[in-house]
């Protein structure tokens, strides 16, 4: 049977990996001991873990699979890049073999087509999207919403983007630069930083760049961390009073507890489906560890959104092509099917009062 979509991703912690295997193992069996889990897990070839049905508020639904590439959570770093690309390639081959019409690449997986789509196996009818455009949409919406909740005037704010030259960082910069007073771009590659700064400056935005956060003297009112920070302390001294921090990295590791007291920290890039999703076997709570139902990363939701719209196209590919117009386009498609910004929350819980989904649908 042909599938509408496939999602390729991996677990970000050993706890999550253990929970996935516990669901598959079934309720009657003791969990796999941690030591055995770490020995066995890396050897699983990429394969489907569950079937997913995603429902549109328009009444129809699409069917797909979640494929785990089984990248061990402690091997996500650069040192394991080649090995991980092979795993993602095998997962992509699995999606193609399953007949998925569109494939979203979550987490680390998107590097496969961000940098070089030739790394993908022979694709046939299957198209791939990084899902980054919808991630940008939800990050930008989240920042605007957080500012609104705080009564913050964005036009007065200094925005710092950590990981600014990646695909998501560049997209966020382009969408938000016209709305703020000043933009500070941080990334490792100075040439790419200069190029982006030039582009944004041409639009009339004041832009600073820095390859090292420690060298920054400005104080940011809004921070978007697209790249996971090695340590939250890198932000200390670079934050204005009551700064708003969007943790859009993967895995998400920022918390007000990390010396960021007084700041509003929220997890960015997440969407919520009002139509709902079903998983078989039911790994929903394991894959989506959020305090609200039917929440997922924008990157993995993009494939489902495009499938619901019957637009089987590589909407997000390559690096640096996300524009405000494309963000608006995917936002509109998502909204049409009842997929919106998820309620804001962080590791400590929700940041806002949230109506139930039933109330929201009735509204």
């Amino acid at each position: 049977m042909a599938l509408d979509f496939a999602l390729i991703a991996h677990q970000e912690s050993w706890r999550a990996a253990a929970d996935v295997l516990a669901v598959l193992r079934g309720p009657g069996r003791a969990p796999i001991p941690d030591a055995d889990l770490k020995e066995i897990f890396p050897w699983f070839p990429p394969r489907a873990v569950c079937h997913i049905e995603h429902r549109s508020v328009l009444g129809h639904s699409v069917h797909g699979i979640y494929i785990d590439s089984f990248i061990p959570p402690d091997r996500l770093g650069f040192a394991h890049r080649s090995e991980n690309i092979e795993r993602v390639r095998a997962a992509a081959a699995c999606a193609i073999k399953a007949g998925a019409r569109i494939v979203s690449l979550g987490g680390f997986s998107s590097i496969l087509i961000e940098g070089d789509s030739d790394l993908l196996p022979e694709k046939g009818e299957t198209v791939f999207t990084t899902g980054n455009t919808l991630t940008v949409a939800f990050v930008v919406q989240g920042v605007k919403k957080a500012c609104g909740l705080q009564g913050r005037d964005m036009s007065e704010a200094t925005l710092l983007i950590v990981g600014a030259t990646g695909d998501v960082g560049t997209g966020c910069a382009r969408c938000l630069a016209p709305l703020v007073n000043r933009v500070v771009l941080n990334a490792r590659n100075i040439d790419r930083l200069r190029s982006l700064a030039e582009e944004l400056s041409a639009g009339g935005t004041a832009v600073d760049i820095a390859t090292d956060l420690q060298q920054l003297s400005v104080q940011a009112d809004i921070v978007i961390c697209v790249a996971s920070l090695e340590s939250p302390s890198l932000l200390l001294g670079r934050l204005g009073p009551n700064a708003i921090i969007c943790d859009a990295g993967y895995p998400k590791n920022l918390s007000p507890d990390d010396g960021l007291e007084g700041c509003t920290v929220f997890f960015g890039g997440l969407g919520q489906s009002l139509g709902g999703m079903s998983f078989e076997p039911d790994v929903h709570r394991v894959l989506h560890r959020h305090p609200f139902p039917n929440v997922g990363q924008g990157c993995v939701m993009e494939g489902m959104v495009l499938a619901l719209e019957r637009r089987f196209e590589p909407f997000s590919q390559g690096r640096g092509f996300i524009t405000p117009e494309r963000v608006q386009e995917i936002e509109s498609i998502a909204a049409r099917h009842g997929i919106h910004l998820a309620p804001l929350y962080n590791g400590q819980g929700p940041l806002e009062e949230v109506p139930s989904q039933r109330e929201e649908l009735a509204g």
Binding site: L24, R25, I32, E39, P45, R47, A48, V49
Partner: protein
């Protein structure tokens, strides 16, 4: 069983490095030789239920080939000054052989192929490959060469099994699952981190698994690589990956 105490370590030959680790190689070779002898017995039994002369000839040829592998491993032991023991009645191997014989009694040719070619050979091929990568000199070469041979002769069995699956997918997959629970369950116990079921009755002293890192091996790698090879073989047969993943997670650890 005692390790032969006079390993041939007189010169700077390929075998030198192996001499200091003779007792470990003795246990590794004992498992390999016993596995090959069980395969000889299994193929010989299989010949008894084959329907046509070609199948009979094939089964006997395979039995002969496995006998050659057992001899080759024994010869490698001799080069190291090691007498390689074998025991087809050792705990796990006996249970594996019994599982196979039950299918012979039921004259279930397909079930026999699934046990021998898909399950036992997956563990043999993957383990031999790993050993072949780290064992010194001709010992490593022999393990690698036999892994390649085992892999080569699986093609014919795979085409028979694919045809059997095409006749009735559900029945075939149910049968594989039933055999998986029994046979892979035994292999899962055999390759578990600790010998929870007592001594394997092949290692000359304590379980060799804890000593494998001394020769550059790890029982975790052997278990993982074997499981991976098995899952990939099931993929090639056409069994749904999500289903076999669930089976694999349910194995004893």
């Amino acid at each position: 069983m005692e390790v032969v105490t006079s390993p041939k370590c007189s010169t700077a030959s390929d075998a030198d490095a192996a001499c200091s680790t003779a007792s470990i190689w003795q246990d590794v070779l004992a498992q390999a030789v016993t596995g090959e002898l069980v395969a000889v017995l299994n193929y010989t039994s299989l010949a008894g239920i084959c329907q046509g002369p070609n199948e009979v000839a094939d089964a006997l040829e395979h039995a002969e080939s496995e006998r050659g592998h057992a001899s080759a491993f024994t010869a490698e032991g001799k080069k190291l000054g090691i007498e390689v023991p074998n025991n087809v009645n050792a705990k796990y191997w006996k249970r594996l052989r019994s599982a196979f014989l039950r299918q012979i009694e039921g004259r279930d040719f397909v079930a026999c192929l699934i046990i021998q070619e898909v399950m036992l050979e997956s563990f043999a091929v993957a383990s031999y490959k790993r050993v072949g990568q780290v064992a010194p000199g001709s010992l490593g070469t022999t393990f690698a060469a036999i892994a390649a041979e085992e892999e080569d002769h699986i093609d014919h069995a795979m085409s028979i099994l694919r045809a059997a699956r095409a006749v009735n997918v559900q029945r075939f997959d149910d049968k594989v699952h039933e055999l998986h629970v029994e046979v892979m369950g035994i292999l899962g116990q055999m390759f578990a981190r600790e010998d929870g079921d007592g001594h394997c009755e092949l290692c000359h002293a304590a379980c060799v698994k804890q000593s494998l890192p001394v020769v550059g091996l790890a029982s975790s790698e052997l278990r993982g690589a074997s499981l991976q090879h098995y899952l990939r073989t099931l993929d090639l047969l056409g069994l749904p990956g999500e289903m076999t993943l669930v089976w694999a997670t349910q194995l004893p650890v």
